[in-house]
Symmetry: C2
């Protein structure tokens, strides 16, 4: 078995030559998978996140089932909010923050938590997953990007138009910056702790980084993602192990001129933009990860294979990690996931 | 008073010289306005749409209040669905389709309605609004684009991930095309009837045209928007009065290379992309409409003025209609709307 640092996924993150394109899938441990639903029938979502044995079990399921080239810690980006002082519930209708942030006093009251105590179950899950993986594939840790965490903390849940977010960003920018700074330090500390616990790479999820104008993208999501990345780059753990950092903005197309300046090793690409167009605009200094429409897994296996071939051709073989453009949808047929994995492995090895 | 065809807004649509940039605002007749809420307290949303006197009253309110350069019929894109055979309710939590389309039989059962009977109240409202406007400003008619109407018809309401839409588009493309064809003919017939009733321009709203990959954009939203536009171009009414057609895709950034091929006179631009970047990519053959973030109206009047100045400079004075990048948010302060209108009128006259 080759050393972990030479694993396909990590080589692709560093833009080194690979014998074929690696693949993993956002939300690969999740509701589309019968084995996951069986575990979930016995435990709430939050219990799953906070019980290391269960988080470990569901993290490993898609590796065993489909042969993905990376595992990702089973957790949720909102897991850091309770540690900062906010109540979060996870009903089946989507997460809800009990008392969303609506004034400066509430922002000032938030703490930047020490993850080794307040997020200990996730770190223990990482240690168990690493043992369970036996270096078959690398393990990715993750956290929500500052702007995305801000939207949940102030809206209280999902939103169509993000009115509270925009009231804060544009109506009270000074308070927005105080909050984003706390969220950036929380994100960085958690990612550092995840790597110290054993993760081999990290992804910063800016699921709602794409709701602003290009100028505001530089001022808010990008600025604070950069801050997280700067903290991580200065960390001895990241330096000594050369840990790749993935930055994913859902809806990145409007910001391609700035996206590459994030400082990440890998940029996530959602499905709404051609990955070849992204490559032309961001240059050759970063790897790209993506970008099949999660909804395309509703197509026939033959159509899935054709779409995989199209993306592989647009992306090229160097510096590409195959993934969906966002999380897999719960309604997805697992056999169609298998068709995608098989297509990526076969077609990229040939080309 | 100049002839209607020489009005500022219509000249900008045709890329003719203007003394200043015209402005109107998506959802300008709406909940942010106290005068609108006063009418709405007496009637349900649907009653408002279907009572010509009330629709006329609220359509005129923002013209009198802010001096917008165009009026837009008060209605809702979903108004065509009941005419096609689907139940739609408009509770305050957002519109709901009673029995969403989930199989081919339901699609086959839909009719392409004759708008002169089934949508008569909207057409009567147009006649009353034209009388009330006394040619002060042009009146815009509108309808939902085929792909956007499909998403509502199959999801049954708003959606985060559009799983039913994507199951239909990618899992059963033949049925999707049958449905989109019916929706395109419905859209075109309704827009034609609106112009025959007196509208001076039309806008095709593809609010959810931005949820697909670039290849699927060509295959679904763009293809059927083109079909609508082709039908309208062939209409004697549109030809004899040289009626401008506006096509608006919310989230247009990934598709700029194809967007200009729609055949529309004006392309709507949402707030997430620089309007100068859109101009570079679509060329000089079309006018552009947009693109202030609706959320930017939460900023101070001074900041709003600075953002207006930035957009005016990026857009240039020829072929630009100022607008928000999407509908105004209900939480908006009307005085901030006034600050935007004043800034557009003053700053574009000077430059």
């Amino acid at each position: 078995m080759r050393p972990m640092s030479e694993h396909l996924f990590l080589r692709a993150c560093r833009r080194q030559p690979v014998e074929r394109t690696p693949i993993w899938m956002m939300r690969q441990a999740g509701r589309y998978l019968p084995a996951y639903r069986a575990v979930r029938a016995r435990a709430s979502f939050l219990d799953l996140c906070r019980t290391p044995e269960l988080a470990c079990e569901v993290t490993l399921q898609p590796i065993d089932e489909f042969g993905f080239d990376a595992a990702i810690l089973f957790s949720d980006i909102l897991i850091t909010l309770p540690a900062m002082g906010l109540d979060v519930a996870f009903p089946d209708t989507g997460p809800k923050v009990g008392s969303p942030l609506r004034d400066r006093a509430a922002i000032d009251a938030l703490v930047v938590p020490d993850p080794t105590s307040s997020l200990a179950p996730s770190l223990e899950a990482i240690r168990q997953i690493k043992t369970g993986l036996r270096d078959r594939v690398p393990l990715i840790g993750f956290a929500g990007a500052p702007l995305t965490m801000l939207t949940y903390a102030v809206e209280g849940g999902g939103s169509k138009d993000y009115p509270h977010t925009k009231k804060l960003l544009y109506g009270d920018p000074a308070s927005a910056h105080v909050l984003l700074d706390k969220l950036a330090r929380t994100c960085a500390a958690f990612l550092e702790a995840q790597v110290e616990a054993g993760c081999d790479a990290v992804q910063i999820f800016d699921s709602w980084g794409g709701i602003v104008s290009p100028g505001d993208f530089r001022e808010y999501p990008l600025r604070y993602a950069k801050k997280v990345i700067e903290i991580l780059r200065a960390s001895p753990t990241f330096q000594s192990r050369d840990i790749p950092i993935i930055y994913f903005v859902n809806g990145c197309a409007p910001y391609l001129d700035d996206y590459a300046s994030s400082g990440a090793d890998v940029l996530g690409v959602d499905w709404r933009v051609g990955i070849d167009q992204v490559r032309r605009r961001v240059g050759d200094g970063v790897a790209l990860q993506g970008n099949l429409d999660p909804g395309a897994l509703f197509a026939s296996p033959a159509e899935i294979r054709a779409r995989v071939a199209d993306i592989l051709e647009r992306a090229g073989k160097v510096g590409h990690i195959f993934n969906l453009g966002h999380g897999v949808l719960p309604e997805t047929n697992p056999e169609h996931v298998r068709a995608m994995v098989t297509a990526v492995k076969e077609l990229s090895a040939r080309s």
